[in-house]
């Protein structure tokens, strides 16, 4: 694709909206990844509370996931691997949403763990709604990216 080819296709307000959405989504992932990367030990316990993975899986995820979030968020903001980053972020959002929904269905009274321990998250309902909104944003970025 020629650089800037998609910018010619959209009106200015749409381009600005797209720019803001891309940077906001990327920055959010960098932020949430960084908070989790600060304390993988605590994050592993947060993951464990979902009762979805054996402990070793929680450990591996706690070590790996924060950096994937940071990396994907960063390249989305910097527009380096835009589509690849969007793919990773969409995939993660789908997984997070499913995990939250399953916690809700099973009646688990847990914190989301979305931002590690630094931000006290309130249960699973709010994060679930937020994730669905973020998925919508990611979906819009996909559409316009075509």
């Amino acid at each position: 694709m020629i650089a800037g080819a998609d910018s010619g296709r959209f009106s200015l307000p749409l381009r600005v909206a797209r720019l803001v959405a891309r940077i906001a989504l990327g920055a959010l992932f960098v932020f949430s990844g960084a908070l989790k990367a600060l304390d993988p030990g605590e994050f592993a316990k947060e993951v464990q509370r979902y009762n979805l993975l054996p402990w070793i899986g929680c450990v591996l995820l706690a070590l790996y996931l924060p950096w994937l979030e940071i990396l994907a968020g960063l390249v989305l903001v910097l527009k380096i691997f835009e589509k690849g980053a969007l793919l990773v972020i969409t995939l993660l959002l789908v997984i997070f949403t499913l995990a939250l929904a399953s916690a809700m269905v099973r009646g688990l009274n847990i914190d989301c763990g979305c931002f590690g321990k630094a931000l006290e998250s309130t249960g699973t309902t709010l994060p679930l709604v937020r994730n669905l909104l973020l998925l919508l944003v990611a979906g819009l970025l996909w559409r316009e990216n075509k």
Binding site: A37, L68, L71, K83, L86, L91
Partner: protein
């Protein structure tokens, strides 16, 4: 757009994503080796009848908390909804426990810290009194406070 172009445009995000997945392995590996707060590979072992704070929190409202510490410590602060039940005043406190106890709930007993044995003793005594599903909170009050 030809089929080949289309396939190419589909492949590119996947290829880029794979590179991101692989690249994240590097800092993840470094974290595993050097992060001061890296998780331990082996899960903390639990004694029989013992549960971690995270497990108990996962039970939600289905928990009946029992504070096995002294009444002074209980009055200073306790888990919300917990009732006092220690061995010193067992004869006065156990009837109160029976009044408030809900058989549908899991009884979780705690004392001050991992080193204390009171919660185990109280849990044992409750089991002897035919109270089903009694658990001891691993790490006790300290673990609960650290959790908040």
């Amino acid at each position: 757009m030809s089929d080949r172009d289309h396939a190419g445009s589909m492949m590119r995000p996947i290829r880029q994503a794979l590179i991101l997945f692989l690249a994240a392995l590097v800092p993840a590996g470094l974290s595993a080796a050097f992060h001061p707060r890296r998780p331990s590979w082996s899960e903390e072992t639990l004694a029989s009848g013992e549960e971690t704070v995270s497990t108990v929190l996962g039970w939600g409202q289905n928990v009946f908390w029992v504070d096995a510490r002294s009444s002074g410590e209980y009055e200073a602060d306790h888990v919300p909804g917990a009732i006092l039940l220690n061995l010193d005043d067992w004869d006065q406190l156990f009837p109160k426990f029976l009044d408030q106890w809900n058989p549908d709930k899991k009884v979780v007993v705690y004392c001050s810290a991992a080193s204390c044995d009171l919660s185990r003793e109280v849990a044992e005594r409750l089991r002897k009194n035919d109270i089903p599903s009694v658990f001891v909170l691993k790490g006790g009050w300290e673990a609960w406070k650290a959790r908040k």
